[in-house]
């Protein structure tokens, strides 16, 4: 499907190049939006950009009667279950009598070309009565519009501390803003089934929903992995999927679509906005004795993955700190704001912004150094997570990351002017430093049967890794091939992406899980192939020539593969987790990742402008399979994290998105990006390949509170809401 550079070599531990790197940089890589098929039609979507309205009339006649239009479909045309959703199927495939969020899809069109499809979609008559939009989180809670309430009660609830810090915090709605917008291609098989090439982080979970929506058996729908221009959670829930399949099945022709940036803002889930109330109580020595938190997440109009996101917010509400009395209530709420779902950090970001601010304020109240307070309360192996009570049984270097960053020298950064055109002269700059940790679970939690399938085949041309795991740009393909080469002793490996009919689920490319999960499956499968071959031929090692004994080749790969390529398929599972009890207690998580960052920020107090001039990061990775990719993930996470601190916000007014373009949804540019100095901490875990752990969400979780901590130091202001705007500093 995609063009990969096959000349990449390298074993585990080396900073080997990405096989998709040069094809992507030179434009030969085939992204999902590049796919085409013979005799293909184009699809367009009619959306209603109103937060809440009753549809009084949808007349498709003007579109149907246009030349070149082949089908116009609405919710009544959904062949099977007319709802979708990754966890709970509650989102109509197309609007059902009303629209419940800005930009909900009402109808879909297939036509000879894209322009005709878009004109036809616009020609559909849509009449509606606006309805009151529920957009306020506290009102949603009062009205009990609750997707999920996650309570945590742990310890002696009568215990109190002498030193008390209370705070209220807000975080914004964030868009994942992947460079590649939604696109896809569906091809009917002529026998009532369909092949779909969607933008997806998890094709097997798409398959379950699609088969139900289309009223087909699962073997009649084949979902194919595609080349993606980023995801960050935005591809966990379906977008173009069911629409394209419906149009392909109705017209009997391949159907393609592509969203422009504005439609992309309407077409995928967002990071939940949050409101959080916190009360931390400590003794005079700075030991946390009680933490209470209430967390409201804005789930938007439909469930999507909110039920899992709120679990993370609740279970990570205290951070990696020891505390024996914890009371948390997390609520994911239904509103008429855009549906929220997965985004890098998955519910751990919002609470980290709050509890790290609380820790700094507590340190101030105690007259303690903020890092010293964190060290005093840092949990480690053998101790218990403050919220769920789960014993930490894997390496978790909380103390080590804090001590390491404290020992890192602060870079001597020149007093660079802020902004262009000499807006801020150097003498107007105040410089300050802030620290924050990032902490979250790895892989799926709460008793979910989380597994990844992979097949490894040894051929005369090296190893083949077969997987359905989505390469969203994160570099998983590099890691899988490094693992296969290392275990099998060969210098060539290539990844083959199989569709849902040819291999089992790899689970989602999310939750920082694929290095451990699909990487774990590839590792086990490669080990099995290695053992099988050595047993069969009586060898003791493998290399590019064949099977060796005592350093001599005893059989070549040509001979080994004469009767068929040796292969093994493995279903890999992480250590099991449990469902929470009624108090949110239990072994709910398979593993955890910890990181910390130090932000050096320059602030122009008079204009309220801020510039991040340096980030230092220390990150727990278990074992570094590819140091260069780790650095890349840290730096990317930093960019996304300080973007959320200073710039990024989906601005909502009564449910309407006010800035659905990159003109006004401000992402950091290269000019805003500070240098990043990273230190990798290696304490091998017990179940990932070679001791590796996932980690790539934690750097972005840490960056946001670290930057705001520095801003608080520079300005003396509370800054309890992100993104911090210039006027929050000035007024």
């Amino acid at each position: 499907m995609t063009t990969l550079d096959q000349r990449v070599g390298g074993r585990v531990g080396e900073s080997t190049r990405r096989p998709d790197g040069i094809p992507k940089a030179t434009g030969t890589f085939e992204f999902v939006g590049d796919l085409e098929a013979d005799d293909m039609l184009w699809a367009a979507t009619r959306r209603l950009y109103v937060p809440h309205a009753r549809l009084t009339r949808v007349d498709t006649t003007p579109a149907l009667t246009m030349d070149g239009v082949h089908a116009v479909l609405t919710q009544e045309d959904v062949p099977g279950l007319p709802y979708q959703g990754q966890i709970i199927h509650d989102q109509p495939v197309l609007a059902e009598g009303e629209v419940r969020y800005w930009g909900e899809a009402v109808a879909i069109v297939a036509a000879d070309d894209f322009e005709t499809a878009r004109r036809a979609a616009a020609a559909i008559i849509v009449e509606y009565e606006p309805l009151p939009a529920l957009t306020d989180l506290e009102e949603a809670l009062d009205r009990e519009e609750i997707f999920r309430h996650v309570p945590v009660r742990r310890g002696d609830l009568d215990v109190h501390g002498e030193v008390v810090v209370e705070g209220y915090y807000e975080t914004q709605t964030v868009d994942q803003a992947p460079l590649g917008t939604e696109a896809g291609l569906a091809i009917p098989d002529g026998e009532g089934g369909v092949d779909l090439y969607p933008p997806s982080q998890w094709i097997h979970v798409d398959l379950e929903q699609l088969a139900a929506c289309l009223g087909l058996e699962e073997d009649q729908v084949r979902v194919h992995p595609t080349g993606l221009g980023g995801a960050f959670g935005s591809r966990e829930d379906m977008s173009v999927h069911a629409h394209l399949c419906m149009l392909a099945l109705r017209t009997g022709r391949p159907v393609k679509t592509w969203y422009d940036r504005l439609e992309s803002f309407a077409g995928h889930v967002k990071r939940h906005a949050a409101r959080m109330w916190y009360r931390h109580e400590a003794d005079r020595d700075g030991r946390l004795v009680r933490v209470e938190a209430k967390v409201l997440l804005d789930g938007g109009a439909y469930h999507m993955t909110s039920d899992a996101v709120i679990a993370n917010s609740a279970y990570f509400a205290v951070g990696p700190y020891r505390c024996d009395t914890v009371i948390v209530d997390g609520y994911a709420l239904r509103t008429n704001n855009p549906p929220a779902g997965a985004m890098r950090g998955f519910g751990a970001n919002q609470v980290a912004f709050a509890y790290e601010a609380q820790m700094d304020r507590l340190a101030e109240a105690l007259g303690m150094d903020p890092l010293e307070l964190r060290l005093k309360n840092a949990i480690g192996p053998g101790e218990h997570l403050a919220t769920t009570g789960q014993e930490i049984t894997e390496p978790l270097p909380v103390r080590e990351v804090i001590e390491t960053i404290r020992a890192m020298p602060i870079a001597d950064v020149d007093d660079r002017p802020i902004g262009w055109g000499l807006t801020t002269p150097a003498e107007r700059i105040v410089r300050a430093v802030g620290y924050a940790i990032g902490f979250k679970n790895l892989a799926f939690s709460e008793g979910f049967d989380d597994y990844a399938d992979a097949r490894v085949v040894l051929t005369t041309d090296g190893a083949e890794v077969h997987t359905a795991a989505s390469e969203v740009g994160q570099g998983m393909v590099t890691i899988l091939e490094q693992i296969a080469r290392t275990v099998l002793g060969v210098s060539r490996a290539r990844t083959v992406w199989d569709d849902t009919a040819h291999i089992g689920s790899a689970g989602s490319s999310s939750a920082s899980r694929q290095t451990q999960m699909t990487g774990g499956a590839v590792y086990q499968a490669a080990l099995q192939v290695r053992r099988d071959v050595l047993d069969r031929w009586g060898g003791d090692d493998l290399d590019d020539r064949g099977v060796l004994r005592n350093g001599e080749v005893i059989v070549t790969w040509e001979d080994v593969c004469r009767d068929g390529d040796p292969s093994a398929e493995v279903r890999f599972r992480h250590p099991p987790t449990e469902e929470p009890d009624e108090n949110g207690q239990g072994r709910l998580h398979a593993d955890f990742s910890i990181g910390i960052e130090r932000a050096v920020v320059d602030v122009d107090l008079e204009l309220g402008l801020a510039r991040v001039v340096q980030i230092d990061a220390v990150q727990d990775v278990g074992r570094a399979l590819n140091p260069m990719q780790i650095i890349g993930q840290i730096e990317g996470g930093v960019a996304q994290g300080f973007g959320a601190a200073l710039l990024e916000e989906v601005v909502l007014r009564e449910g309407t998105v006010m800035n659905p373009t990159f003109t006004d949804y401000l992402l950091p540019t290269i000019e805003d990006m500070p240098p990043v100095e990273s230190i990798i901490i290696e304490q091998p875990g017990t179940w990932g390949p070679f001791g590796a752990k996932g980690f790539a969400e934690t750097p972005t979780i840490a960056a946001t509170p670290a930057v705001v901590a520095a801003l608080r130091r520079a300005t003396g202001r509370a800054l309890n809401r992100i993104p911090v705007r210039p006027e929050d500093i000035v007024f």
Binding site: D260, T423, L666, T669, D672, R725, E727, V730, F731
Partner: protein, 265 residues
């Protein structure tokens, strides 16, 4: 859609005589965004890039086809600094001052300089030439005085442009950002100061009272600077929008103008 590619100004105005409502294309960094987002469907387009004479520039003339990339290297410091804040390198290499004037956004980055030096905009049509002072050319947000059939030929600068010029812009990130406030302050050999601000009114505007105060006092004490800052903040006419509140814009206008005044003094 019909498109014409004239190679001379006289050919262009001939085309415009028969297509008076044609859309003029000069860089396309605003126009193509509108087209891509389907806000505009074009019927007749006159593409101006092939007209060499529109790209001419001399000591008192900036042709409408001069790109922001060339303005970055122009001799007028206040304009060069402004041009450097426009978009990205790609935008600056195709976007033109004529296109900037045609769009007439209140936040147009080149306008504070043009207003501060009292530039005039020259319009050409089949019936002749009109020269409009900047404050007659800009008529409102994204509105200007160009008539159907007219072409923006360029910008006429006064014979004596003040030697000391400074520009600065406030935006939330370091590049590719629309101004929340932009400002240009000039000071000539006689010590006369002008102050122009963008993105804080329906069009670029001059802070006349602040100018009058400082030009009467001719001293730069802290008291004078405070008063200057206050007058600028009073004179701007900002609105609330998603980029910033009116109150912040008013505040930042005063701060920015004061800093620029200190730079040109």
């Amino acid at each position: 859609m019909q498109i014409e590619y004239p190679t001379t100004v006289s050919d262009a105005v001939d085309v415009l005589a028969s297509w008076p409502d044609a859309t003029l294309l000069s860089g396309g960094t605003d126009l193509m965004v509108e087209v891509n987002y389907r806000h505009r469907r074009l019927d007749q387009v006159v593409a101006l890039r092939r007209i060499a004479e529109l790209a001419e520039m001399d000591s008192a003339w900036i042709g409408a086809g001069v790109t922001h990339a060339r303005l970055e290297r122009s001799p007028w410091q206040g304009l060069a600094e402004a041009a450097r804040t426009v978009g990205s390198p790609q935008i600056r290499s195709v976007g033109t001052i004529g296109g900037n004037l045609g769009t007439a956004s209140p936040a147009g980055d080149t306008f504070p300089f043009l207003a501060a030096v009292d530039a005039a905009i020259v319009l050409r049509s089949a019936s002749g030439v009109r020269t409009l002072p900047w404050d007659e050319f800009f008529t409102g947000p994204k509105q200007n005085a160009r008539r159907p059939g007219e072409l923006i030929a360029g910008v006429q600068l006064p014979e004596a442009v003040p030697a000391r010029q400074a520009f600065a812009k406030v935006g939330r990130r370091s590049a590719m950002v629309i101004a929340i406030v932009s400002a240009c302050v000039t000071r000539n050999e006689d010590g006369d100061v002008t102050v122009a601000l963008g993105a804080v009114g329906p069009t670029v505007l001059r802070a006349r009272q602040a100018e009058a105060m400082i030009n009467a006092e001719r001293r730069l004490t802290d008291t004078m600077l405070d008063e200057f800052q206050r007058l600028v903040a009073d004179e701007v006419q900002p609105i609330d929008d998603i980029r910033a509140s009116a109150a912040y814009r008013r505040h930042a206008s005063g701060v920015l103008a004061r800093r620029l005044l200190e730079r040109v003094w």
